[in-house]
């Protein structure tokens, strides 16, 4: 199934060249979880990262559906 991964700001360096506006489309097996999808990228997978599914806070073991968007960014105070 096809899903999207979006990386924001400094994490964009971990994206392949074909990514556009920080988004890359991936073909992943059915049952792939949020964690498995984001693990494909060289970003920290600890509490220094924020990872959301379709903009929502979810468990990292949540299985993905066709068309889902996983987004990750560095946890740092802003605003």
């Amino acid at each position: 199934m096809m899903i999207h991964v979006k990386l924001i700001a400094n994490y964009r360096e971990a994206l392949p060249p074909e990514a556009k506006n920080g988004v890359v489309e991936l073909d992943v097996p059915d049952g792939t979880t949020v964690y498995e999808a984001i693990s494909r990228f060289d970003i920290p997978l600890d509490d220094t990262s924020v990872i959301v599914l379709n903009g929502l806070t979810v468990d990292m073991s949540t299985p993905l559906k066709e068309g889902d968007m996983v987004t990750a960014f560095s946890a740092i105070a802003g605003g």
Partner: protein, 607 residues
């Protein structure tokens, strides 16, 4: 004494009489410094019902015990006064260089009373204090004023001043320092203008003595190293400033778009941090002694929006940009420059124009009244409105009153997205419930800087909270409000001080911040005492607010009754009723939000 000078400069602008006075060490300790000291004096000395633009209002510039010390970002000051925009308390924070230079005069705090009959500026070079004519800079913008006053005083001086917006009493007028830094919110620049005080120019060599210089330097170096490690890893704050945030809030569906009619913006890629970095960024411009360096010098090299200056930061992008439906980056950058030059808060400026755009599109205000079409996304009209607001020219006079009064005047109060008449910053609380409680209860009206729980709900600092739920949010908001009162009183910037306010496991005691305060002052705060002092400050601000007559903690119609139509938070409104009673209980306030006698006694506050 250490850390604090324990000296205040008082300038009566009516008589031009200058006096100095000492601060009681017990008051100094109980109220921390900065924002805390300022509310103590404001509460003691002025009638909270006074007209904010009258000579009866008091304008306070206050540094903290960590200002002008080696503490990283120990370079902030607060402007505290009664706000003409909200009728409530104003406390606006700024960095740059002026705060350190101000404290090096040998005074912790400047108090301005009364009103000068003619435009003046106040020059403070340690004990050389002069009230000088400002006739030659009246009418000039922030940049020109700064250059002229430095040229006629000293290249070693630093300037805080108002532009045309403050002179003309526009209610979103800011006090700008070092040209580009702003004590922006709540119309503090209009208070300065109402006193005919164009500028304050400060210089000196009186660094505060430190109680334990070696430990202070060691802790500061350690903190700077931690920040440096973040930077090495590619900290967003160093690379982008806060301009990376639109992508984050857009992802969560809480990016204010078209006056909060939407929570996502289709043009976000045109105006985000990468676009700014790739097109207009020249270099980073840190505040004095800041290892983080979120400021940035930018330039639009040619075309109709040609200019050079600092910004935009996130809050400007989410107000003058997405708030107005504007996706032309060059125009947005230019709008930011103009606000800095006229001396205007970009949040209230942008969101007031956004409200006017919505009212125009709905037919509530005609093209004839405005003088031109004012559709969402019309960046040229937005730029023209900024100029009109600064000069209160034509329809600009309506805009200069802020969105609450604008919407009320034209018969549609439901359009204004404000609390206590102050415009919302860049987090739609329908998708960030804790922010909703914060905006509703904030003593200064809607502001993220009153206790920015977006750190947890949005940015995952120190831990990620689900922004769509209400559970635990009252406790979170209370802790952030008290922590921000502590940080604002200390003289540090919250971007770094937040490291001291929490540990990773969200241990809620400000252990390191208390240590740093002690190395500076020798006051011997325990973390509990420091947090308790911050709670004292917060409650006294509440008492000022109540006496000023602003009593209702609520949210505007759109936030309570119009569900978000798009994005991850689609269908949500702010569930304020689920949070407010618990919040009052945790605060020790009654069901109307009034501190109880027991709470006031516990904090040692006047009944």
């Amino acid at each position: 004494m250490y850390g604090w000078h324990l000296r205040i400069l008082r300038v009566n602008l009516t008589s031009h009489k200058v006096t100095t006075e000492d601060v009681d060490p017990k008051i100094a300790r109980d109220y921390l410094g900065g924002r805390g000291w300022a509310i103590h004096y404001l509460y003691k000395e002025m009638d909270p019902m006074a007209d904010p633009l009258s000579p009866d209002n008091i304008l306070i510039f206050a540094t903290g015990p960590l200002t002008a010390t080696p503490a990283p970002t120990g370079n902030r000051y607060m402007v505290v006064t009664k706000s003409p925009l909200t009728g409530a308390l104003a406390h606006s924070n700024s960095g740059g260089e002026f705060p350190t230079w101000m404290k090096r005069t040998g005074f912790d705090m400047f108090i301005f009373e009364g009103k000068s009959s003619e435009p003046v500026y106040v020059f403070v070079n340690e004990d050389q204090i002069e009230v000088r004519s400002a006739a030659h800079v009246w009418g000039k913008d922030v940049h020109e004023t700064t250059d002229i006053l430095k040229a006629e005083t000293s290249a070693d001086a630093r300037v805080a001043c108002i532009g045309q917006a403050g002179e003309n009493l526009a209610l979103m007028a800011a006090i700008m320092n070092d040209k580009h830094r702003a004590a922006a919110r709540s119309g503090v620049g209009a208070v300065m203008g109402s006193k005919n005080l164009k500028a304050v120019v400060a210089m000196g060599k009186k660094n505060p003595k430190l109680y334990d210089s070696a430990k202070m330097i060691s802790l500061s170096v350690d903190t700077s190293k931690n920040v440096g490690a973040d930077v090495k890893k590619g900290s967003n704050m160093r690379i982008y400033g806060t301009s990376y945030v639109p992508q984050v809030t857009n992802t969560l569906g809480i990016l204010p778009t078209r006056n909060f009619l939407q929570g996502t913006f289709e043009g976000v890629n045109n105006i985000d941090g990468d676009a700014l970095k790739n097109q207009y960024l020249i270099r980073h411009t840190p505040c004095y002694r800041c290892p983080l360096s979120c400021g940035r010098l930018t330039e639009v090299p040619d075309g109709p929006y040609k200019g050079k200056g600092e910004g935009p930061e996130y809050e400007t992008i989410s107000s003058l940009g997405t708030g107005c439906g504007v996706s032309n980056l060059a125009a947005l950058v230019k709008a930011n420059y103009l606000c800095n030059e006229y001396g205007m808060d970009t949040i209230t400026t942008g969101m007031t124009i956004a409200a006017a755009m919505e009212m125009y599109e709905k037919g509530y205000i005609s093209e004839e009244i405005i003088g031109m079409p004012l559709k969402f996304g019309d960046h040229d009209a937005m730029i023209e409105m900024i100029r009109k607001m600064a000069y209160r020219e034509g329809f600009g006079n309506d805009l200069a009153q802020g969105s609450y009064r604008l919407a009320e005047k034209y018969g549609h109060p439901e359009i204004a997205v404000t609390t206590r008449k102050q415009e919302f910053p860049g987090y739609d609380p329908r998708g960030s419930q804790g922010m909703g409680l914060l905006y509703a209860t904030s003593n200064k009206g809607a502001s993220h800087m009153e206790g920015d729980v977006a750190y947890e709900e949005v940015f995952g600092v120190p831990v990620k909270e689900n922004p769509l739920t209400t559970e635990g949010k009252p406790e979170l908001v209370k802790h952030f409000e008290d922590s921000f009162a502590l940080m604002d009183s200390s003289g540090l910037c919250v971007f770094v001080a937040i490291r001291y306010a929490f540990n990773k496991d969200r241990m809620i005691l400000p252990q390191r911040l208390a240590e740093m305060m002690n190395f500076s002052t020798g006051a011997g705060y325990t973390p509990e005492e420091a947090l308790k002092a911050a709670e004292r400050v917060y409650n006294l601000e509440r008492m000022f607010l109540l006496k000023a007559g602003s009593t209702e903690d609520t949210l505007p119609h759109r936030m309570l009754h119009e569900p978000l139509p798009d994005g991850p938070a689609k269908g949500k409104v702010v569930e304020l009723d689920k949070m407010l009673p618990e919040f009052y209980k945790l605060r020790g306030w009654d069901e109307k939000g009034v501190p109880t006698k027991e709470k006031l006694e516990e904090l040692g506050l006047p009944l």
